[in-house]
């Protein structure tokens, strides 16, 4: 966990608005702060503002800049490279993708709320 960041902030990178909104709502209710991005470029911009999240939920298939390109850029940038990433994907090879990206975990769409909470808690601690 990134100790310089306040616990309880999550960056959700997902191009589908409905999914993004649901996740944001659920995490918000749970007491986490939620940052949102529609694609990889927006995510990078958010991370440049200096407020680092304790975990990034990363969709892979997005327009403009997809999850793979984002991850590469993230790893090249020392200030943000350490933030753990959890891959969100509908693909059957989710585990393989996660491993290839050096992700800390994955959630296969569609996933259960409990699974989401468990994994966020693991990286950010319980919400306030």
């Amino acid at each position: 966990m990134n100790t310089s960041a306040p616990a309880g902030r999550v960056l959700v990178v997902e191009d589908d608005r409905a999914i993004r909104d649901e996740i944001a709502d659920l995490l918000h209710e749970r007491g986490y702060q939620v940052m949102q991005a529609e694609h990889g470029q927006q995510a990078l911009d958010q991370l440049q503002t200096g407020e680092l999240p304790c975990v990034i939920l990363l969709d892979l298939m997005m327009p403009i800049m997809d999850g793979w390109v984002f991850r590469t850029a993230q790893l090249r940038s020392p200030q943000i490279a350490e933030v753990p990433v959890v891959v969100l994907t509908g693909g059957g090879d989710a585990a393989v993708q996660a491993r290839n990206l050096g992700a800390a975990g994955y959630l296969r769409k569609p996933f259960q709320v409990e699974a989401l909470f468990r994994i966020i808690e693991g990286h950010c601690g319980p919400g306030s």
């Binding site: 585990a95 569609p110 709320v113 409990e114």
Partner: protein, 555 residues
Amino acid sequence: MTAAARSILVVEDENVVSMDLRASLERLGYTVTACVGTGRQAIDSAESDRPALVLMDIHLRGNMDGIEAADHIRRKLDLPVIYLTAFSDDATLKRAQITEPFGYILKPFDERELHVIIEMALFRHGAQKEHEKLLTEQAARAAVEKERQWLQFLARAGERLSASLDLKVTLQEVAALAVPGLADWAVVHLRDEEGVRPIVVRHVGGREALVWEILRRYPAGAQVPHGYSHVMRTQQPELLPHITDEVLVASALDDEALRLLRTLGLRAQICVPLVVRGEAFGALTLAISDSNRNYGPGDVDHAMELARRCASAIDNARLYEEAQQAVALRDEFLSVASHELRTPLTSLVLALQSIERSLARLGDEKIVTKFARIVQQSGRLTELVERLLDVSRLSAGNLDIEVQETDLAQLVQDVAARFEEEARRAGSVIQVSTPPALIGWWDRVRLEQVLTNLVGNALKFCAGKPVELTVDERGGRVILAVRDQGIGIPKATISRLFERFGRGVSMRNYGGLGLGLYVTRQLVETHGGRIQVESQPGERTSFVVDLPRDSRKSR
């Protein structure tokens, strides 16, 4: 020599000379079959008596002179003729020469000279006949040999054609078989989206490059009256036993093309269409340039036979390719569909679960119960979407399992717990029997899928009686069993139980796109395991899964 071998017909209209000749011939030991005086009589006599030789006076009375009669006798009866002549002008001698006589005797004749010329003529004629016989025998043997080569070629070509679905490779092999055994050149043209193109070119001397160049630069247009395009249009074979320059001129589109064609030195050619279902989609050309042989109608028949087999093989290859493309397209669609469906499902599931939690806080039992059912259905939808993806991946052969350290005992307990509610509703109960722990290497998610499928099925058909779920270890392997005492499975259905999509396949496959048990078996086998079913209709059913302890080794 027999008497017949020394029989002579005398054709001489001067009586005195005729009698003189007869006397001399008989003195020399020959038999005179007849002495006649006109051309007509000569022909009749020769036809009826068949002498070994004819002495023919050039100048005869009547409409037909000796030369005419001799010509008829030589051509129709194949008898040697010697001309008798006192004097003849050049024109007459020229005419006489054309009839290919076996000699001339000047009148008055010398008996010794007569003897020598006759013997020489008989000998030469005999030798000629021997030679002809030899040639005929040789030709017959060559024909038999060629026939043998054709049959051998057709057999081998047939094997190759049915052995491979890779068209290009197969056609190259067929061409290789034809050259040089049956042709100096072999070319195959096929039609594709871009038009008719040469696919294979083979030459005994390796000069393929030249022909590729010609074919590339001058594809035959509709106006060329020979060769592959003509044959494809007419759907009839073409035999050119002697390729004349006229043929080349007619086939060449310009002077340069004509020049190139001439350098090939083609002497004979057979071209046959490749026809399937009434459509000509290609042509096979066999040609002779370097070697000393010919093509005849028999060769065309064989070439047609080959063309039929090629056409059939090509058709098969194309159908196979189309089928494969169709399957690939279907799988791609399923994969995309599965992916697309996940997106709305994701937010739907999250929203439903979120509302479910809120409703629980409100405490309205009815709404909570109803909502639980909604959530359950969304779970089912999710499962169906997963199955869609499974099908496409199974077909593509890349259903990979992610093996990890798993506690099977714990997994079995978890699954049983999840089905508690459903069991209660079915008037049944799940009896679990496991050791305290059972660690092994399997794909946890996939084994959960297997168990879910089997237990779910059991509950559907358990007829209110308990369902037994057991797991234990036996000799390094792990045995998983799901047993119910329900309606059972009819014998006829058991054999097709693990197949997919079948109509009339057991109800146990119903409600899951007809895939549940099919996928289950694939998953079990990918782990290196086996699944078996046993059933007594009306009494009980048991599914037994046998797995290795460590599935990493079975991959």
